[in-house]
């Protein structure tokens, strides 16, 4: 660890503090390391703290290890712990004060700002360090708990990603931090909130754990206890944490809703809290953040089922009406009002029930008038702020989104009702704005009309014939003429771009509108001229791309083959098919396009930044391919307008109907096939999975068998060896025994020999005695003694003879035994060998079998893989087929949406 910090040592030499300062530090550190008395350490640390600020780098490089060591070893000494935590705060912090909430800690120069982050990174390399600090967070003592929290804040702010990752690996860390929020010392609680703010940014896992730990309840309570929007900065921090927890986190949004927190939001906006009391800066910020929390729940970027349930929940508990009421409350500051408008827009977007409630809302005027009309008046009022006007447009767009009834009502009210001259219907306001000299009014009107027709062919047809009478002094004109007028004569590029967006959407799939458009004098040539040159500026590129797109729409949806051929020829000759397509496609590569496609709410600063509408981009993406192909296609579909061919057309239509039915059936069949093959693929993949796991199991089995085999082999060998050894031992024992006997026997031999010679001698003697006796017999009596002697000798000889015999027998027996034992030994040796070779061959056989089986499974698996690939091909084929059918259906005029598959 210390060597890591020492990497900074190099820096100290260059831009570090005076060398005398470094000397002091070195001396202090040395003392801290060597002293044994706690009091001395305390003293040393206090001195170190005093000079820490000027010597951050030096202490970090040379003293970190010592400090951490003392922190660990003297952890029970409050003074020491508090001082070290203070020192660490000073070293890690890049600014004088605690980091700001917005993450912009005020740095004096860039290098020192990064230093804190680098030190944090090194510090966090060991999660034990963080665990140590978390232990101090648990301490109740203020002088320990507070600096510990502050230190965590500093680190979490300077190096959020690392901090979050380490925090996730430390078990129980979050509940530890959550306890800070219930500390009754405000300063600790507030820093706890701040810490949550840093660690909840873009980290869904931590967000979920924190929400699980009841963060919503606790934070909402703090907001309430601090006086809602009139509370201080801690309210803002709490609101930011709540927003962090909810942002793009559907799991947490569900929990928020399930825990009944939506209901609690009503308290934030209830009338008595929005009264006329003064709006401080903090209060404005708090109110904006509160509305942002609501927006987090219903953001259009979330999956629509979630948005729907949240919208319904907000509507049910009255939150929608409360937020709408802000719009009608006098004295609300502009930025709060803009945020409230954006919130209302997202609360009503695409939800017919809430849209209906909203249209019925009335402004508190005498006589009461529809709130929406009042809002539109502000939108079209040049004196209103740009942000506000765009926010109203966002409300209007959200109000019209998926709301065919309201779209129709607006279109119908464009023409003033002579029987009921109510001033300024929505349609009249929108129509009139098209003729306004104000560019933003034109923009809003064009985009407004676009949202009235984008989803419906009937509405497109209806708009073709709409005549607007802007004022008594001006001649009436159709919406289309006015659009073209703006397009040709308009003073701002933005309103031209809006006009093009309206026309593209309007003319698309509506031959009536195309016809009306092409009737306008020389409009074709005008469009063509716009796309001939190659502009450099990106807004010009956008304009040109949209002109090309509009031309493409005309070609694609013109019902007259003559003009169509003419247009195609013109484009091919003047521009070239490839260039034409490129001009259409290039729009998608523009920065404007990317920015506008990210979110539906207005995020532009000024009129000049206005470019593309979010819903236009959705339309454009869906239509682009078709329009690009338009100039390649031969005229296959056209409709004659002669009345005499009516019957022919009718029969054609009928046959087309039939074909459509047929195609539909085919499509259904393809669907069926598709689903079947999907099923099959699923089954197969499941089987593959099964087989893979089986193979795996087999692999394991083989492994175990091999291991067993090995064990077996070594075992048999072992066993055989042991047996042999035993036998050998036995044999050696017998042999040595025999040797002994033999030796004994051999030792007896000379005695025997001696006895034999003795016997022989005696026999000789006896014979000589005999002879003597015989002689004596002949001659005398002394034979009696001799006879006695002779019998005696005879008995002795006999005894010796028997003894000799028995010895010989014993020797023979021993010899025999030796031979049998030898035989036994060799026999046993042979059987052991046999046994060994047998087990070996057996194991080999088994391995071979298993290997074969494995091979079989492998081929089976690869077969299945091939089969699956074939099926995938089949599916792609059927997909392609379906696409073709869909295309054919579409060409036949049958509306088919792409997601029908």
């Amino acid at each position: 660890m210390s060597f890591l910090f020492r990497a900074f040592a190099g820096k100290t030499d260059g831009d570090g503090p005076s060398s005398s300062g470094a000397d002091t530090i070195d001396r202090l550190l040395h003392r801290l390391e060597s002293v044994t008395l706690v009091a001395d350490r305390r003293d040393g640390l206090r001195q170190l703290k005093d000079v820490a600020k000027e010597n951050r780098v030096h202490i970090a490089a040379h003293g970190m290890a010592i400090l951490l060591q003392i922190l660990e070893q003297d952890r029970s000494d409050q003074d020491i712990v508090a001082t070290i935590l203070d020192i660490l705060c000073i070293i890690m912090s890049d600014s004088d004060s605690i980091p700001g909430r917005d993450g912009t800690s005020l740095p004096d120069d860039h290098s020192t700002q990064k230093l804190g982050g680098q030190l944090t990174e090194i510090f966090l390399k060991k999660s034990e360090h963080l665990m140590l600090l978390l232990d101090f967070v648990k301490e109740y003592q203020f002088q320990i708990r507070w600096p510990a929290v502050r230190l965590l804040c500093i680190m979490a702010n300077s190096s959020p990603k690392t901090f979050q990752n380490v925090l996730l690996t430390v078990g129980g860390a979050v509940s530890n931090l959550m306890d800070l929020l219930t500390d009754n010392r405000e300063i600790i609680r507030n820093d706890g909130v701040l810490l949550l703010l840093f660690i909840t940014k873009n980290e869904p896992s931590l967000q979920k754990i924190i929400a699980f730990s009841k963060a919503f309840d606790i934070l909402l309570d703090i907001v309430r206890d601090e006086g809602y929007s009139e509370g201080g900065v801690v309210v803002e921090d709490c609101l930011l944490v709540i927003s962090n927890l909810l942002e793009n986190n559907t799991s947490n949004i569900k929990l928020f809703k399930e825990d009944g927190c939506v209901q609690k939001l009503c308290d934030w906006f209830s009338a008595d809290k929005l009264g006329t009391s003064s709006w401080s800066e903090q209060r404005k910020t708090n109110a904006t953040r509160m509305l942002n929390v609501v927006r987090n729940l219903v953001s259009p970027l979330l999956p629509s089922p979630i948005v729907r349930t949240c919208q319904d929940a907000c509507s049910k508990c009255g939150l929608v009406s409360l937020v709408c009421a802000i719009l009608m409350t006098p004295g609300v500051p502009l930025n709060v009002l803009v945020q409230a408008l954006n919130t209302v827009a997202e609360l009503i977007r695409g939800n017919s029930k809430i849209q209906e409630d909203f249209s019925a809302m009335e402004a508190p005027l005498k006589p009461p008038r529809p709130a929406l009309a009042i809002l539109l008046l502000s939108m079209l009022n040049e004196r209103q702020a740009f942000d506000l006007r765009l926010a109203v447009l966002y409300v209007l767009k959200s109000f019209l989104y998926k709301n065919a009834a309201m779209q129709l009502t607006i279109l119908q009210s464009v023409i003033p009702d002579t029987t009921n001259p109510s001033p300024h219907t929505l349609g009249q306001l929108l129509g009139g704005a098209l003729f306004s000299p104000d560019n933003l009014n034109q923009w809003c009107s064009e985009i407004g009309f676009m949202h009235c027709v984008v989803e419906s062919l009937d509405h497109k047809k209806m708009l073709v014939s709409l005549n607007v009478m802007p004022s008594a002094a001006m001649p009436s004109s159709t919406v289309m003429h006015q659009c073209v007028h703006i397009l040709r004569e308009g003073s701002s590029l933005q309103s031209k771009i809006a006009a093009l967006q309206l026309l593209c959407v309007w003319l698309s799939e509506c031959p009536d509108a195309v016809e009306a458009f092409l009737r306008i004098e020389s409009i074709m040539l005008w469009l063509l001229t716009q796309i001939v040159d190659t502009p450099l500026e990106s807004s010009q590129k956008l304009f040109q791309g949209l002109c090309a797109f509009l031309l493409g729409v005309c070609i694609r949806y013109d019902r007259k083959p003559e003009t169509r051929t003419e247009m195609v020829e013109l484009v091919r000759n003047r521009v070239g098919a490839e260039t034409f397509r490129e001009k259409i496609v290039q729009i998608t590569r523009l920065e404007n396009f990317l920015l506008a496609s990210q979110r539906p709410d207005p995020a532009v600063k000024s009129f000049a930044d206005l470019s593309l509408d979010y819903d236009f981009i959705k339309f454009y993406r869906a239509a682009e391919g078709k329009i690009c192909r338009a100039i390649d296609e031969s005229q296959e579909e056209h409709m004659a307008s002669d009345p005499e061919v009516f019957n022919q057309q009718r029969s054609e239509l009928l046959s087309k109907d039939n074909r459509i039915a047929e195609l539909e059936a085919q499509l259904k069949q393809a669907h069926y096939l598709h689903s079947q093959s999907a099923q099959q693929i699923e089954n197969l993949s499941r089987r593959v999975e099964l087989l893979t796991s089986e193979i795996h199991i087999r692999d394991q089995e083989i492994e175990t068998l091999q291991r067993e085999k090995y064990d077996l082999r070594s075992n048999t060998k072992h066993e055989g060896d042991a047996r042999l050894e035993q036998q050998v031992q036995h044999l050696t024992a017998t042999t040595s025994q025999m040797q002994q006997t033999i030796e004994q026997y051999q030792a007896l031999m000379p005695e025997l020999e001696h006895l034999r010679t003795l016997t022989l001698q005696q026999q000789n003697q006896i014979t000589s005695y005999y002879q003597y006796f015989e002689q004596q017999k002949d001659g005398g009596d002394p034979s009696s003694g001799l006879i006695l002697e002779k019998t005696e000798l005879q008995a002795r000889t006999e005894h010796l003879d028997s003894l000799l015999f028995s010895w010989q027998a014993e020797a023979d027996r021993l010899k025999d035994e030796l031979v049998t034992l030898k035989d036994q030994f060799t026999q046993k040796e042979v059987t052991a060998d046999e046994l060994l070779s047998m087990t070996r061959s057996e194991a080999q056989q088994k391995t071979r079998e298993l290997e074969e089986e494995l091979e079989q499974l492998r081929t089976k698996y690869s077969d299945l893989n091939m089969e699956q690939a074939d099926l995938l091909e089949l599916v792609t084929d059927s997909d392609q087929k379906m696409k073709d059918y869909r295309e054919r259906l579409r060409r036949l005029g049958e509306p088919v949406s792409d997601d029908e598959a």
Partner: protein, 216 residues
């Protein structure tokens, strides 16, 4: 919607045993054969009725993969019930139960009710873990046991509801301290409302009635 109690559950077990599918079947009554791997944790909720009382279940479905283990551990504390799931067609998932149980016992409050679920019991032909083994394991470790199928919905309701019953019984017996939310139990607004003035009195309500029940 008002409720008498809110119970927090977690679902744990090896990856691929069907935790998310069990939750989806319970909350949405549908089965999704191909489910994305759960990243971290997902949340679901449903209302049930026990002994005539509305009980809200909040369920955290965790990721089974080893790499999410430390995240999962953060959810044990604060859960009243846990569904420990294994796959009857995969023996290894059964063998890892001991690890899961150790983890759960170590990080949760001691009163947490654990229900052992052998999932995918519709796949009888591929069974690798006998029903009796599951039962024995549950008995040995003091858990309730059920075999279920997220696909056919068999026993899914029962698994969640029986766990809730067990928790409810424990509340009636006074085992749980319902004032301490770290147990994963929260009193509903209908209990809490009179408790503003005297929280203790409000809380004693169910406890007192249970004592009466116990005497009978």
């Amino acid at each position: 919607m008002s409720y008498a109690y809110l119970f927090k559950y977690i679902i744990i077990g090896d990856t691929g045993v069907g935790k998310s599918c069990l939750l989806l079947q319970f909350t949405d009554k549908r089965f999704q054969p191909v489910h994305d791997l759960t990243i971290g944790v997902e949340f679901g909720a449903r209302m049930i009725t026990i002994a005539g009382k509305q009980i809200k279940l909040q369920i955290w479905d965790t990721a089974g993969q080893e790499s999410f283990r430390s995240i999962t551990r953060s959810y044990y504390r604060g859960a009243a019930g846990a569904l420990l799931v294994y796959d009857i067609t995969r023996r290894d998932t059964f063998e890892h139960l001991t690890n899961w149980l150790e983890d759960a016992r170590q990080h949760s409050s001691s009163n947490m009710v654990i229900m052992l679920i052998g999932n995918k019991c519709d796949l009888e032909s591929r069974r690798e873990v006998k029903r009796e083994e599951g039962e024995a394991f549950a008995r040995e470790h003091g858990m309730i046991f059920m075999e279920a199928s997220a696909k056919t919905a068999q026993n899914v309701e029962e698994a969640f509801i029986n766990t809730a019953k067990e928790i409810y019984d424990k509340i009636q017996e006074g085992v749980f301290d319902i004032q301490n939310e770290a147990n994963g139990i929260k009193l509903g607004p209908e209990h809490a409302a009179p408790g503003v003035g005297g929280g203790v009195a409000g809380a004693r309500g169910p406890g007192a009635s249970s004592q009466a029940g116990g005497c009978c």
